[in-house]
């Protein structure tokens, strides 16, 4: 550390405010600069608390979460944990878009903020956050800046400035270091352990003041930094005025700003808006190492959080700071070797020894007193990667990074402040023995009909999915909504708890106190919003899968939606959904009389509309045919008493003047199925197509498509349809044939392979050949083939020669 900054530099760059930045344990104020999640900052903070003996510790953080501090420092709480802040801009104070905002404030064991708060709790002194409430930060931030940048995830602890500074790049060049993380690890994390708190503080202030010097005031104002500093300074002043001895823990970049404001004594109070708990709030939530690292992309703390957390845990447990990194990196090296061996990557003891030799050698070469993660990565690269470094050969390096990042997830001990939905989620997970305390993806095999647990677990998974939490994904199993794989009796779920799961659950807090209640309310709301039968039916399936019975009012609502929808296809889809529900009620032990009523209502709406679908345009004809098939199939099972009415509607349809050939064919097929004596009518219709103009003949293919779709057996009964199909195909010119080919292909796709084979044999018979003759063709004489080949090459040579001339 020594040698990086000159001693005189500190006074030079801090000016008059410098005296407030001095580490003076006899004064009333100590501004301690930190980097989020940095173990060395945590270590030095703990020492500073002992040396300074404050009566109050003030920490940078939105003050509307002050009530949650005891939850964080509760001994039952396991880190990583975070405070989740939300703000719903219903009053349009942030922007005219009235958007919802949310962000995390993550805490790890290596977070200096956490260690400061924990030290205060241990000593029984006051601890408080002093930053503006979350909504005020947003109100004071310009669009596209700070916490209002366009990001999927926001972290309150944003280190962007520290990292993007050009200043450190110059330092890297001077010190021959590759990047910021390596620079930070060497000069602050490792070498900082050797310093006294006073020396460390001075170095941190110097670095941060030089970094801040590159920021324009306009930028600091735009991203809310200056407003936040004014508020923090005000809170510090209030504490000092009360006679408290104050230790202030903030990001290093704020220190100079705070010192200047406190020095001037003129601090303008920020206007604070009144907020109700439904539009602004904060909750403690479990957080993961993975998210703490993933957020690194947004520069919110250190890389490899589990590794650095381990460093802090070791120090707290009494490890010698002078050797803590050497121990931790060696342990991680051995773990990496073990994990690699599990993946069939042979790593010997000699390799481990060699890697350690390289690590120690590099540490000496780089003038760093202990091996850090950079040396570890280099040691692994050198000794564990055999051959060319590629994605596959570099796997040990990936394993090391994964281990250093960590896959653990925290736990909130005091459940009083845990959002009710998160608490219920954890309770349900415990009941079903789901492993939710890890970010590693898990699998759950759910036998639906073997005992009560399977069905209940399935319902829980569907509920948590309905809340759009991203916790579980159904990878295999019956898909009732799309009507696929409904014969499967097991569901295979993949699930994984991430902070986003908690965030989604917290977002649904206003919907209910349990997951079941939230789903019930959401489904009820969805029903009131739906206007189309198919949407309402999908919600009914959701409720069915979630095991949430509809209330009498909701049933009426559902019935009304079906009654009022005028869209043939939407009702057709509703028919499918309700039929599925009626069919599976017993199996899923879910009694719901409304489904059958809705099913009948769908049928009663579809039948009068059916004749009007006769002249459907080409693009919707297949959908009409689908609905017709569905209607016919139901009149053979649940809705038998509707068969005659359906027959009447079909007869009206075929009697219409203008008909889509595919719909016509399907209707003729269904009528034939209802009454086999109508076969001749279907044949006559086909003959009509054959005898018509070229355009009408081409429609014959679509007629066949519709007919085969609903009554494929008509072809297999005798040869007359085959003769007509053959006549249709052979009567076309090549170009016209190519035009009808897609329809013909689709028409024959309704047959099974063995049916197609027997049809092919019959067609071959019509033309007096055998199927084998068609497949193999005629044998060509060998001599003739040779002659042809020679002729071919001669012509090619002549042509090429001609071109050259």
């Amino acid at each position: 550390m020594e040698g990086i900054f000159k001693d005189s530099l500190f006074a030079e760059i801090t000016g008059e405010a410098g005296e407030l930045l001095k580490y003076d344990t006899s004064g009333d104020l100590l501004l301690f600069p930190v980097r989020h999640h940095s173990p060395v900052c945590s270590y030095q903070i703990l020492r500073a608390v002992e040396e300074f003996s404050p009566t109050a510790i003030l920490v940078e953080g939105p003050e509307n979460a002050n009530g949650l501090i005891p939850v964080l420092t509760d001994e039952r709480t396991e880190l990583p944990a975070a405070f989740y802040y939300f703000y719903k801009d219903k009053k349009k104070l942030v922007s005219e878009d009235a958007e919802d905002y949310k962000c995390y404030y993550p805490f790890l064991y290596s977070s200096p903020e956490f260690n400061a708060l924990a030290a205060a709790a241990a000593k029984g002194i006051r601890a408080a956050f002093i930053d503006l409430p979350y909504c005020e930060i947003l109100i004071n931030t310009a669009k596209g800046k700070g916490l209002r940048t366009e990001k999927e995830k926001h972290s309150y602890t944003d280190d962007t400035r520290l990292i993007r500074s050009k200043f450190y790049k110059k330092l890297c060049e001077k010190t021959g270091i590759r990047n910021f993380e390596e620079f930070w690890e060497k000069y602050f994390e490792i070498e900082g352990l050797k310093l006294t708190p006073a020396e460390f503080c001075k170095n941190m202030h110097t670095y941060c003041v030089l970094t801040r010097a590159q920021e324009k005031d306009s930028e600091l104002e735009a991203d809310g930094t200056l407003a936040r500093e004014r508020h923090m300074a005000l809170r510090i002043k209030e504490a000092l005025d009360k006679g408290e001895k104050v230790l202030v823990v903030t990001g290093g970049l704020h220190s100079l700003g705070l010192a200047k404001l406190l020095k001037s004594g003129k601090i303008k109070a920020e206007k604070l808006h009144k907020m109700t708990p439904d539009i602004q709030g904060s909750f403690p939530t479990a957080y993961s190492y993975e998210a703490a690292d993933a957020l690194h992309g947004y520069a919110s703390g250190m890389r490899f959080p589990a590794f650095y957390d381990g460093i802090m845990k070791r120090i707290v447990n009494g490890a010698d700071p002078a050797n803590v990194y050497n121990d931790a990196t060696l342990e991680l090296l051995i773990k990496t070797a073990k994990e690699s061996s599990k993946k069939d990557i042979a790593i010997s003891i000699a390799d481990i020894t060699s890697a350690q030799t390289v690590m120690n050698g590099l540490a000496a070469l780089r003038n760093v007193s202990q091996c850090g993660i950079s040396e570890l990565a280099d040691g692994i690269t050198s000794a564990f990667i055999k051959g060319e470094k590629t994605i596959s050969s570099a796997m040990p390096l990936d394993i090391m990074r994964r281990l250093a990042t960590g896959d653990g997830i925290g736990h909130i001990g005091d459940k009083t402040h845990v959002p009710p939905l998160v608490a219920d989620f954890e309770k349900q997970c415990d009941i079903f023995k789901l492993k939710y305390a890890s970010v590693i993806p898990q699998e759950a095999d759910v036998p639906l009909f073997l005992g009560e647990r399977g069905l209940n677990l399935s319902r829980f998974m569907h509920r948590i999915t309905y809340l759009d939490t991203g916790f579980a994904t159904l990878t295999k199993g019956p898909d009732l909504k799309r009507g696929k794989d409904r014969s499967r009796v097991r569901e295979l779920w993949k699930y994984r708890r991430t902070p986003q799961v908690d965030a989604a659950l917290i977002d649904h807090t206003t919907d209910g106190f349990t997951i079941e209640e939230a789903c019930t309310n959401l489904a009820a709301r969805a029903l009131t919003e739906h206007r189309r039968c198919q949407d309402a039916a999908q919600t009914a399936i959701d409720c069915f899968l979630m095991g949430i019975p509809l209330t009498g009012h909701q049933k009426e609502l559902l019935y009304d939606i079906v009654s009022e929808d005028g869209d043939f296809f939407s009702i057709g889809e509703g028919l499918r959904c309700f039929a599925r529900l009626c069919d599976l009620q017993k199996l899923y032990e879910f009694e719901d009389s409304s489904s059958f009523a809705c099913l009948e209502k769908c049928m009663s709406r579809l039948i009068p509309a059916l004749p009007s679908m006769a002249n459907s345009p080409e693009e919707t004809a297949s959908d009409v045919v689908d609905v017709m098939r569905r209607m016919y199939s139901l009149t053979g099972s649940m809705l038998e008493n509707w068969r005659d009415t359906l027959e009447g509607a079909l007869l009206t349809l075929v009697g219409s003047k203008d008909k889509n050939p595919e719909v016509y064919g399907a209707a003729m097929g269904l009528l034939y199925a209802l009454e086999p004596s109508r076969r001749s009518a279907a044949e006559d219709a086909m003959r009509g197509f054959l005898q018509g103009s070229e355009k009408v003949r081409m429609q014959g293919a679509d007629y066949l498509k519709g007919l085969f779709c609903t009554a494929g057996d008509i072809v297999l009964a005798d040869d007359s349809f085959l003769y007509m199909t053959d006549e249709l195909i052979t009567g076309f010119e090549r170009e016209d044939y190519l035009e009808i080919l897609p329809s013909m292909r689709l028409a024959f796709s309704y047959f099974t392979p063995s049916e197609i084979q027997s049809i092919a044999k019959a067609v071959a018979g019509i033309h007096g050949v055998k199927d084998k003759d068609i497949i193999y063709g005629d044998t060509i004489d060998e001599g003739l083939f040779e002659f042809g080949k020679k002729l071919d090459s001669l012509i090619t040579a002549r042509l090429n020669g001609g071109e050259m001339q």
Partner: protein, 368 residues
């Protein structure tokens, strides 16, 4: 005397720098090394040396991954050999020469691996006249670079190791494991033990992979380092200029450096190697090696032509023709790929950037 050689060895070329470093080196040295690891790092990656006369600047000689160089130095100070692998033209040989010269003062103690390399060349052979006259004795023995390295405690370099048949490569295993070479013909005197400071630096082309794959046993005795091509275009341009200048100086060619031409070449090589232009257009990668060393060679040819046949300024037409010769060597499809690159990327740059790119674009007709 030095300038009479085409390519003087590193220890002669940089003799002054090595002496400065040696004279002012206070760092700890592995036994038998001439410089400490820190001084070796400074020699290869550049830096400043404090001397009684003031600070002396040591220029950087290897561009790219600094950590790789550090790992190489530390590996060589340990018990394992160093194997440098990578695409042709990524300066593996240069790095191994620099390391040898800096650590041992000798970069020429080298075995060149070929399909015809035999075990004799790796271990030892005999001066048959002396052998017949005096029988097997030390005088009649012709030591290999490996044996020399063991006896003197210096590095032995093994170039293109994978060009050598696998069973021949494996003769290194016992030497690297036990640090002993047995010469049975010499009886009790035939046991040569490696002196401290001895190590092996191997190089292997990834393009030769599969020609003679190294055995697992041998791999375990090396630490591998993959030398990647230079990923930064401006750095590649800098290297082309620097190296071509050095070559021109050695060849007494007094042509001014045309940075624009060097940039054209650096961008062309970089984009063809990556298969993507700076504008994001995907271009087909030629099968030929698109290394910085090749680019340097093309540039040198161009300025040589300008010096001997032209007015001393680099002609873009000649540059394109030289590029054609360098790229279209093994695969006839490479010509089409190069033409396509000119049709798309060069044309686009001519429109956007103009200047030399415009002239460069016009030379596309020479690609045939």
């Amino acid at each position: 005397m030095e300038q009479n050689y085409i390519k003087p060895p590193v220890e002669i070329r940089y003799a002054d720098e090595l002496k400065t470093l040696r004279d002012n080196d206070n760092g700890k040295k592995p036994e038998n090394w001439l410089l400490s690891p820190k001084a070796v790092r400074t020699f290869i990656l550049g830096g400043e040396v404090d001397t009684p006369e003031g600070k002396v600047k040591i220029p950087r000689k290897f561009y790219g991954n600094d950590a790789l160089v550090e790992r190489c130095i530390i590996t060589l100070a340990g018990s394992r050999g160093l194997m440098l692998v990578g695409e042709p033209g990524t300066a593996k040989t240069m790095l191994s020469e620099l390391l040898s010269a800096a650590c041992c003062g000798v970069s020429t103690n080298t075995v060149q691996g070929t399909a015809g390399t035999t075990e004799d060349m790796i271990k030892y052979s005999w001066n048959y006249a002396l052998l017949l006259a005096k029988g097997p004795c030390r005088e009649a023995l012709v030591p290999s670079p490996l044996l020399v390295g063991m006896e003197k405690g210096i590095f032995a370099r093994f170039e293109e190791i994978t060009r050598t048949p696998a069973e021949i490569q494996d003769s290194l295993i016992s030497v690297m494991s036990d640090q002993i070479l047995n010469i049975p013909e010499l009886g009790d005197e035939g046991l040569v033990q490696a002196k401290r400071g001895f190590n092996i630096i191997g190089t292997a082309n990834t393009r030769d992979k599969g020609v003679n794959e190294m055995s697992g046993a041998l791999k375990r005795r090396f630490n591998f380092e993959t030398v990647e091509p230079v990923s930064d275009v401006s750095l590649e341009k800098e290297i082309i200029i620097r190296e071509a200048e050095n070559m021109a100086k050695a060849g007494h060619i007094d042509c001014p450096v045309d940075t624009d031409v060097a940039e054209l070449l650096a961008v062309t090589y970089h984009e063809l190697r990556e298969g993507k232009t700076s504008e994001g257009t995907v271009v087909e990668k030629p099968a030929a090696v698109m290394s910085t060393a090749e680019a340097v060679s093309v540039y040198y040819q161009t300025i040589s032509h300008a010096w001997y046949y032209g007015d001393g300024t680099a002609d873009l037409g000649i540059l394109t023709e030289n590029l054609l010769g360098a790229v279209c060597k093994e695969n006839k499809d490479d010509l089409e790929k190069l033409k396509a690159y000119f049709r798309t990327a060069v044309k686009e740059k001519a429109k956007k950037v103009g200047g030399a790119w415009k002239e460069y674009s016009k030379t596309a007709s020479l690609l045939r």
